[in-house]
Amino acid sequence: MDNVREHALANGLAVLTREVHTAPIATFFVWYRVGARDEPQGMSGASHWVEHMMFKRTQRLAPGDIGRMVEGVGGTFNAFTYEDATAYHETLPAEHLDLALEIESDRMLNAVFDPDDVEAERTVIISEREGHEASPMFRLMEAVESTAFRVHPYGHGVIGSKADLRSMTRDDLFGHYQQHYGPSNAVIVAVGDFATHDFLDRVEQHFGDFPSNSPPPAVAEREPAQEEARRVEVHHPGPFPVLMLCHHTPERSHADCAPLLVLNALLSGPPSGPFGGGGTLRTSRLYQRFVASGIAASVGADVGVNVDPSLHRVVVILHPGGVPEPIEEAVLDEIQRLHDEAPSQEELDRVVRQTRAKRAITLESVTAQAVQLGMLEMAASWRLSQTLTDDLQRVTPDDVQRVARTYLCESARVTGWFMPAAANGAAA
């Protein structure tokens, strides 16, 4: 992604801009470096709950005002929280871009956390969690993450445990907000139909007077190297068995990330979406092995794009009544193939070509561009969005074989199974 400009206010607020004049719209994001990784014991889910509270009361705004302001000019708005960050965004007709600056500058420091609002939102978030619990994939992911990360907060999930959601207080949440929200822990990303110089003046007007906040405590936990393979099984009523076979991988800023992305592209498909994933191509190794052959219903793989070391995951959904052992053996066989044979240069060239085309299409919208810039900046650097295809092009067949042997090895493996069971826990 070219033509991205980087700026900084005196109080530490970073600003990334990209002018795009093909449609009269603009998107405005504020990314805060706070997510599940910043949550201490007993406060799992705090970052996500804070995100919900930001749609409630500020000193100026009442619940529902943000929706009325943004949708009243035809815009859309939302927010999301994940392991490393929380992002708030508005996409709207460019002439109304100031509305987004008003809203985001207000809630950066002025959210109220009214105790009644906190209590009402407690049941909303527990309801959100209970909605997720309907999904076998959610139950399996929670079990796998807590097995893979015994020390690092990546092990406790973004939505939080029910126990923590029931016990956290208004002051816990307000403290989390005060500690992590402020200009020097945030990055603005704006993409769309505006003039950068004029836009920066308005950012200065809205955010320039905010005092620099003291840096939040660094995440101290480092996950110790896993020394032997781990395994977890979830037995719960459900429609079909699911396999999630993972390996520990390095952080996004690590030089081995590019060869791992190429490796993953051979298994499932190129990184094309704003979050790095891109769906499973029908010509990929995993699709051919599992779905085209008919032995499983669907398959996918992805590699974590995170601040700290994360996971490479292969997920296979079996047909109802499917037998687990041969499926797990077949995934291990595909991994062994990566250990044994370096891919051809032709395969690698194809990955680069596919990545270029997929990104050109996926990044057609200003919102998708801002998500990619922000996500990469949170994980490592927004500049990776400029160099991604070149980085992939430099990867050699030997690099792919080397990272397969280094990271996709038995001692770094976490194998999770979701197995359908009757309501009493017996095999279905």
Partner: protein, 438 residues
């Protein structure tokens, strides 16, 4: 007229052409983009199947690219994957459709492959078997998912057993399990015909060159002799339209799914057709009732004030046949009845009292102002062209859309809500853990 977007999409800027086989081609050049989007709809939806063959239209569409006279499934996939393009087929209740994305230089490939799949699919036995198994797995998932289970049963109750709108697009396990390759071949020969097709191409393309390309590919598809005509498709759609007569009493079913912690409910009434003149008042009313902000008045009551749910909203579905106007929410089982009562209260309130000027103005401005966002991407423009054609809105529709919304009055909002939601005989399905006895 620029429709508030940078695109002037109207009868002058969209090239319209009828291909030699009767298909309609719409081309909108968007030179600012490096890519191209194609989209199309045509006969081939569930209105052309029977209850005994529920899911046949969907399975046929899913299997179109699984082998053609010119390519195996693998060769078909390789042609797309090698250039980072995508092309997919599916069938809805009313129509079948396909959509594709590629770099603009690969438009010829997209159209060649689309024509190949539409005109000469072979439906190899082994590939049909695999698609059938995949569909059965999707159906097993739908049975286990509270939201899907409630939605499927809601439509069955609302439309009754004899209407294709009432059965799920992807069918039932007991019908899908029986389909053989020959069933798909027969359905394809009978239900697929170019004369009913509308194809939109949007992106960095030249209209004349695109027209030539479309003639050589899609235009060269000749249908089977006894394939459905546009009039035959229209008849099938008319037959699938729901009666306006309401049920005599509330229909409620509570479905229990083992192992779930949350209940999803779907509550609604039979609504209107997209072509009904009251459609614009209806989407304004729906925006007020269940969309504005985080779920409109229903979201505000159920989520913000009472803290009962993560999601609670209302929906209007556009269709050539009458479609439901419904309310959905995900609720802790202990609070289901409170949430249902709150939703009904909001519906009745809007059916009795017109909204004030502020709420009405805000909702209308939201519907008008969001148009540029919907036209940002090539596939968004292609979808808009297909919508205009499908519902007979005319290629100048975007020029009058804002006036149609602006002309909706507060009394119109009350009246269209009352016409649907004042009927005491609503349909309600809940799905999730066993509900506590009250």
């Amino acid at each position: 007229m620029t429709n508030g977007s940078r695109h002037a999409i109207n009868a002058d800027s969209v090239a319209r052409h009828t291909l030699q086989n009767g298909a309609t081609l719409l081309v909108y050049p968007n030179p600012a983009s490096p890519s191209v989007a194609i989209g199309a709809y045509h006969a081939g939806g569930a209105v052309l199947e029977t209850r005994e063959s529920a899911g046949l239209a969907s399975l046929t569409a899913d299997a179109l690219n699984r082998g053609t006279a010119d390519r195996s499934f693998l060769e078909f996939s390789q042609a797309l994957d090698h250039v980072g393009a995508s092309l997919s087929f599916h069938a809805d209740t009313e129509y079948a459709a396909f959509g594709g994305r590629a770099l603009a230089e690969d438009l010829e490939l997209l159209l060649t492959l689309a024509a190949d799949a539409l005109a000469q699919p072979t439906f190899p036995e082994d590939e049909v078997g695999r698609v059938r198994e995949q569909t059965l797995t999707v159906l097993a998932h739908a049975e286990d998912s509270p939201g899907s289970r409630a939605a499927r049963r809601f439509r069955e109750l609302l439309y009754g057993p004899g209407n294709p709108n009432g059965w799920p697009e992807d069918g039932y396990a007991e019908t899908v399990r029986e389909f053989e390759a020959d069933d798909l071949r027969t359905f394809h020969a009978r239900a697929y015909a170019p004369a009913s097709m509308v194809l939109a191409v949007v992106g960095a393309v030249d209209p004349m060159a695109t027209r030539d390309l479309a003639e050589r590919t899609i235009g060269a598809w000749n249908p089977q002799r006894d394939a459905v005509t546009p009039a035959g498709w229209r008849q099938a759609l008319d037959a699938a339209d729901a009666p306006t007569a309401s049920a005599e009493a509330v229909r409620r079913e509570d479905l229990t799914i083992e192992g779930k912690t949350q209940t999803e409910f779907l509550l609604g009434w039979m609504g209107i057709r997209r072509t009904d003149p009251s459609y614009y008042a209806t989407i304004v009313a729906n925006f007020i009732l269940g969309q504005l902000g985080l779920g409109g008045r229903i979201g505000s009551n159920v989520r913000d004030t009472q803290g009962l749910a993560y999601h609670a909203s209302s929906y209007v579905v556009p269709g050539l046949t009458r479609q439901p106007w419904s309310i959905r929410a995900g609720i802790n089982p202990a609070n289901v009845d409170r949430a249902i009562e709150a939703s009904l209260h909001e519906a009745r309130q809007l059916a009795e009292t017109p909204p004030d000027d502020e709420e009405l103005g805000l909702s209308k401005q939201a519907l008008i102002g969001s148009l540029p966002l919907r036209l940002e991407r090539n596939d968004g423009i292609a979808n808009m062209l297909l919508t205009m054609q499908r519902y007979g809105l005319g290629l100048d529709h975007l020029g009058v859309y804002a006036d149609l919304i602006r002309s909706v009055t507060a009394d119109d909002v009350r009246d269209v809500t009352a016409a649907v939601m004042s009927d005491p005989a609503y349909t309600l399905v809940t799905a999730g853990p066993e509900l506590p006895t009250s």
